[in-house]
Amino acid sequence: MTFLARHRIILPVVSLAVLLAATFYMQPRAMSYFGLNLLFNLAVPIALATIAQMMIIMVNDIDLSLGAFVSLAACVTATFLNDAPMLGLLILLALVLSYAVLGAVIHALELPAIVVTLGMSFVWGGIALFILPSPGGAAPGWLRTLMTVKPPFAPMAVVAAVFIAAVTHLLIMRSGIGTVLRGVGGNARSVARAGWSVIRLKALAYGLAGLFGVLAGMALVGLATSADANIALRYTLLSIAGVILGGGEFTGGKVSPTGAVIGAFTLTLAASFLSFMRLSPDWQIGAQGAILILVLTARLIFRQKGSEA
């Protein structure tokens, strides 16, 4: 195995660095506390959603309902959590628990996760519409303060990214339970033979995904100050792209939390990159697609070198 193949994290880091350098070259004023904050502000909820998706991909499943779930969490945050904090907290807790139950049911009945989450996306979206039929609500004051805080040295978005990456890295890559969870994706049967309850582990992975999904919704409301039932629907696809961009694989429990956070930031930056090039905003979505393809092409080169060695 070559150096590059062993250190999968290098590619996402280099991609983000190149894109960032190009942005600074194009618009030197972005290279400031304020500029960075503007560039990456909206990346924080996407990074949290990407971590949530990573938890599911880690156990070889895929979540097509994440965007609807984050929207629902945002709606609960902007209504119940603001008006009746205790009740709001209970509802969010119930959402996390329902994700854990979902994971257990998918495993116990051997259901295809892609279809069950597809159905759940209707359910989450329906509940969100029920809570907030028209856009509105308000962000709780403390959440607003938290998301717009101006720490010294580095803007909030960067500090938050480092914090999220560090916590999830410790949890997934360094801790014992994280290793077992990745093992479920690698070979569920041997994990079971080793005496672990796979159903509990799957419930834990899904529960963690639910937790980070809820956090993503809360962070989004803190930034956007209000919510609507469709606020985060595009997060489903963005989060899948972010996990893969960050060096994750769909199978085998090969994921990287740090990479996922970097992947989410790269996708966010890709969207605003073109506006610095003064190209038409029509191409913003396309730029995300093009950069996704470019980075994955680079990964192909890495992998071929790895297999030759």
Partner: protein
Amino acid sequence: MSVLSRPWLWSWLAAAAAFSLTLGLTSGRGAGELGYAALSFGAFAAIVGLGQMLVITLGPGNVDLSIPATMTLAATLALKAMGSDPGTAFLGLVIALAVGFGTGVANYALIFLLRLPPIIATLAASLIYQSLAIWSNRGLRIKPPAGLADFATGRFLGLPNVAWVGLALAILVWIVLERSVWGRWLLATGQNLRVARLAGVPVELVRASTYISVAVFASLAGYLLASFSGGAALNMGQEYLLMSIAVVVIGGSSIAGGNSNVPGVWGAALFMFLVVSMLNSYGAGAGVRNVLTGTIIIAIVIAASSRRART
């Protein structure tokens, strides 16, 4: 094999149940209108569903996420070329199908040349198609030519024309799957890619033609939908992403691939429309409607999987 164990039966039973529950409310009035509407709207879901079914049949990990973007792009470019002028319907159709062919080739090129997982390849490509559609659609709202709009909303022998198109496609796909070499190759590839390759099946050719077929189906659905609804819109394909996967699974095709089910796709497409109109006629709001739709999808998947376990 008895009739009861046919996997497509369940989607038709569910559609019939939703149909009769809706009519139960009106004590039988409006049966014809409801059936007609279900066939019209179900046709679009059935056409994209047939394409998605072929891709899903290719085996685990194969799914086309670019269907909505392909629909929108094909419809936008076709309507722009036609410019509401009479007699251009055929030109528009050719352009739409050519767009579908192009996106299909592009999707497969990404999958084959860059060795990307199909989910991520079609996802990334769809972002680019979406941008192309936005760019070419800017500020335009072109109506389809009158003749084409009449065709798309018209009827023949009492059934909507779009349903005839969807029915013809379903029969074509069914014959190809059941009776042609290509269909057998597709099923063999979906059941075990390695074994199929060793047995001499041109696996990559099968994969390429499948990804092109789904895109062509999607572009046809986009062309018809735009003609049906009086113009292309940027979000016109949005609901068909989840819809295309849902009708395949509810229709009884295996999500693990290697096993496809044409009649079930049509039954599921009708069901997806009928369940919404049933909930509407019972006065359910948008929220309740979505929750129940999702619950029903999951219930059908659970029922289907436990049925497999017994047999």
